[in-house]
């Protein structure tokens, strides 16, 4: 049985191979580019000898900081490529080879000789790093530190206490489609097919960098092979491709090689998280501290807001949530699916499990007891919050009530079996967007909006929203998305796409209905067009807190001989507003949970202190889940009616699936083995000799 809801509108193109991605446009006369990454972790470029590269058959040009087009200043230093001789981290681009063929471009890049004046580098995050500082603001613009009540006194006097530190290495987004751009200049106009999560943000960045009106720039992102945050804002490939196209007066295509992505497109920074929970004998939290230590680069400041979920999840009359960060000579961190919530909830939800054991309260019941009708940090009531219902429904479906809470209480041959639970959450974001809806005399509709479908099903859900608002069948509605030439809209990020786009589309549809009604229900031969912009509709300081919630339950086996952890079952129940397309929504939830299994068991990248480089740069060394790792994943949801949110009553669903998964798995590993692994990913060596009986 398949999940109901319309199939993806572009599905046929995707299964027949005719959907065109950014690197699949081939303007006549196109040249191919290949970047040259810096081979030192910090220093200056002293000289670049492009002679051998330019002697390669098919060579067109080598761009360096000495000959590349000049760019204007921007807030995002990672985009200011080939502008000076500085090397802020290993892998930073120092040159770009351009050739007639991809083979020649690659050979040219290998032949570019770069001399450096290396400088001492500092790439290792330590909890006591002397240059750590407390940032005023962390992603996405929220306060770095918050204090409520008197944490120290409340914690000191709490009868039950947990003090635990959780660590994780860097994580990489690794969408299946590498970052790619095909760029061309025509009569002073720039057209870029770019693999990105939002063409408007790219268009605006290019306008700023090249000092031109954005009306002279078109950015197209019709099909995008995944993003997960690392295509959220423009990345260097689009700037380099545009520069190379201008420099060579030819269309240029640049696809970033997979092994260069880790240094160039952003990552989730390594994190050290100390969580302290003080509670009464009944487990009710009286004191909560979540203190985060992380890193950023010297190029741009990005601070993963891992303590943010501790401001929202549970009653905590005395609370301290802080971030400290150090700027190291490392690649710039950036958004990765559920920034803040994904790592922060790993720490908080493991600590909740530890508190459950310390207080002798069932882990699900403990979370129910600490539920909060208002957002603890702001005091604002939630527009809707059904965490408890998710926990109860998940427990029922999973069969939680038969669980023997004692660690190491279940074995099947050499396998230890355990179960664990965790909560999920993700805030609701709405951003201003605009849309246009046209109706023909024959009653056919066309919706135009620069939404982006990075695999979420955006095209389909926009059509569902429009058809519903218009009161017509889905097949009467055609959708145009994925171009900056369309009405401007928010990017596919922050789980805010559907809410933001849908709001604008809904408004335009209502306006169109009024226009038609104003004409007595008739449409003139040329049709009618309505536009809408939600800039004035989205409250800047809404009276409610808004978020999705959920609960995840994992069953794992741990092999006592090898230490290998396998997830046998993973069940999520989510309360995320009204689900607009069950088929694609389910895929979003299980997709996030699948990435969460990777975070729990497989993913982690190591900074080499001597070379200043991520050791795991490709998909053979950086392990993402494969088919064999994933079975028994189920996602369910609770129908939630919330009239406050937006005209559709929807919340975002793209990120919540990854939130809580790693904690549910880690808690299940503890239940199976009695070993509390507080360092992700949970690889076999962390369990061997640690009480599993293996050695």
């Amino acid at each position: 049985m398949s999940t109901p809801g319309p199939v993806r509108l572009e599905g046929r193109e995707k299964v027949t191979g005719t959907a065109r991605y950014a690197a699949e446009h081939m303007p006549p006369g196109m040249a191919y580019a290949w970047p040259v990454p810096a081979a030192v972790p910090r220093g200056r470029v002293v000289a670049i000898d492009a002679g051998a590269a330019l002697a390669e058959p098919g060579a067109v040009a080598v761009l360096t900081h000495e000959n590349a087009p000049r760019l204007k200043e921007t807030d995002d230093g990672a985009l200011l490529v080939l502008q000076n001789d500085r090397v802020p981290h290993r892998g930073w681009y120092v040159a770009l080879a351009v050739a007639e063929t991809p083979e020649a471009a690659r050979a040219m890049a290998a032949a570019v000789r770069v001399s450096y004046a290396p400088e001492e580098h500092d790439v290792v995050l330590t909890p006591g790093h002397p240059r750590l500082f407390a940032p005023d603001v962390v992603n996405p613009g929220i306060p770095g530190s918050r204090e409520r009540g008197d944490f120290d006194s409340a914690y000191a006097s709490a009868p039950v206490r947990v003090d635990a530190t959780y660590t994780m290495r860097a994580l990489h987004n690794h969408p299946m489609e590498p970052h790619a751009t095909t760029a061309r200049w025509e009569d002073g106009r720039l057209v870029a097919y770019d693999s990105c999560q939002g063409a408007n943000a790219v268009q605006e960045a290019l306008a700023g960098l090249f000092g031109m009106d954005k009306e002279r720039i078109t950015v197209v992102a019709e099909h995008v092979g995944g993003g997960f945050g690392c295509k959220g804002t423009p990345r260097p490939q689009v700037v380099l491709a545009a520069m190379a196209a201008r420099h060579t007066s030819r269309p240029v295509r640049l696809v970033l090689p997979r092994a260069q992505l880790a240094a160039i497109v952003g990552h989730r920074a390594p994190l050290v998280q100390r969580v302290r929970l003080g509670a009464g004998e009944d487990g009710e939290i009286t004191a909560l501290a979540h203190e985060v230590t992380t890193q950023t680069s010297t190029v741009r400041e990005f601070v993963e807001q891992a303590a943010a979920p501790s401001r929202a999840m549970y009653v905590s009359p005395n609370s301290r949530t802080t971030h400290r960060v150090v700027a190291l000579d490392v690649p710039s961190p950036s958004w990765m699916r559920a920034p803040g919530e994904a790592p922060g909830m790993f720490a908080l939800e493991c600590a909740m499990d530890e508190l459950a054991y310390a207080a002798g309260v069932d882990p699900v019941e403990l979370r129910v007891r600490n539920d909060s009708a208002a957002e603890p940090d702001s005091g604002k009531p939630y527009s809707s919050r059904h965490l408890v219902e998710c926990l109860r429904e998940g427990a029922r479906r999973f069969g939680w009530d038969t669980r023997d809470p004692r660690p190491r209480s279940r074995a099947e041959g050499r396998l230890l079996v355990g179960t664990g639970a965790a909560s999920s959450c993700y805030p609701v974001f709405h951003m201003p967007s605009s849309a246009e809806v046209h109706v023909t005399e024959a009653g056919r509709y066309r919706v135009r909006i620069n939404a982006t479908d990075i695999g979420t099903g955006a095209r389909t859900v926009v059509a569902v929203i429009a058809a519903e608002a218009l009161g017509v069948a889905l097949d009467r509605v055609a959708i145009e998305i994925g171009s900056s030439d369309l009405p401007a809209a928010w990017l596919a990020g922050g789980s805010g796409g559907t809410g933001s786009w849908g709001w604008a589309v809904h408004k335009a549809c209502r306006a169109l209905i009024e226009m038609v009604e104003g004409r007595g229900g008739t449409v003139p031969p040329g049709g009618l067009t309505a536009t809408a912009d939600t800039t004035g509709d989205i409250p800047s300081d809404p009276p409610h807190a808004m978020a999705s919630f959920g609960a995840q339950f994992a069953e794992v086996t741990v092999d006592t001989d090898t230490g290998e952890v396998r997830v046998r079952r993973l069940l999520g129940v989510f309360a995320a507003g009204r689900i607009l397309n069950a088929r694609t929504a389910r895929s979003q939830f299980i997709g996030g949970m699948t990435m969460g299994v990777g975070m729990a068991l497989l993913e982690g990248s190591t900074m080499d202190p001597r070379f200043g480089d991520f050791a795991e740069r490709d998909l053979a060394s950086y392990h993402v889940p494969t088919h064999a790792d994933i079975h028994g994943i189920e996602a369910h949801w609770i129908d939630e009616t919330d009239p406050v949110l937006n005209p559709m009553g929807s919340k975002g669903i793209g990120e919540i699936g990854i939130v809580g998964t790693a904690a549910a798995v880690a808690n299940a590993v503890h239940h199976a083995t009695g070993v509390r692994v507080r360092d992700l990913p949970i690889t076999p060596e962390k369990l061997l000799g640690g009480g599993t009986g293996a050695g």
Binding site: E10, T101, E103, G226
Partner: protein
């Protein structure tokens, strides 16, 4: 001394159509398809045979085309995702992927489809996998039944970062059951 030849004429029969191409000796089958024939269905995800997005059938077997030098495959018969449908009629695997939502971004999908096609043939020819019970493997060349576990094991060379694995396995089962 004359410089060595760096290009050759290579003949590839792709989806039943013969193509004669002058190719750089460094050109892979994947780049020949994408850059020279405009068949961009097969994807370049990693260029190192680590992700499976470039999977096509070469002489009937599933292969990572990013690691094949075209010059070494003169005369090969290649099937790509563009060759699976019969006109407007989708191949049953394509229809099942669509119905089961066996993809999200779609970038791994052509590789998953070609890999599934090759995998079904391998199991049908009795090739065992790591998870085939020894008693069953001993019956080779009798076809190996494709349990979900067999499908997951045999499809593990095709990564999907969107996490559509569960739906992909369900789609393949719809066709093999």
């Amino acid at each position: 001394m004359e410089p060595p030849e760096t290009t050759s004429t290579v003949t590839l029969r792709v989806n039943g159509v013969q193509h004669s191409l002058d190719l750089d000796h460094r050109t892979t089958v994947l780049d020949a398809l994408r850059e020279h024939l405009g068949l961009t269905g097969a994807k370049k995800g990693c260029d190192h045979a680590q992700c499976g997005a470039c999977t096509v059938l070469v002489d009937g077997r599933r292969t990572n085309s990013c690691l094949l030098l075209a010059v070494a495959h003169d005369g090969a018969e290649v099937t790509t995702v563009e060759g699976l449908a019969e006109g407007d009629a989708l191949h049953p695997l394509q229809a099942a992927f669509l119905e089961r939502d066996g993809f999200q971004c779609g970038y791994c999908t052509p590789g998953q489809l070609c890999s599934a096609l090759g995998m079904i043939a391998e199991a049908g020819a009795g090739a065992p996998s790591l998870v085939t019970p020894p008693a069953e493997a001993a019956l080779s060349p009798a076809p190996v039944p494709l349990s979900p576990e067999e499908i997951r094991e045999r499809m593990s060379g095709n990564l999907c970062r969107c996490g559509a694995y569960g739906n992909i396995v369900a789609a393949i089962e719809d066709v093999t059951r």
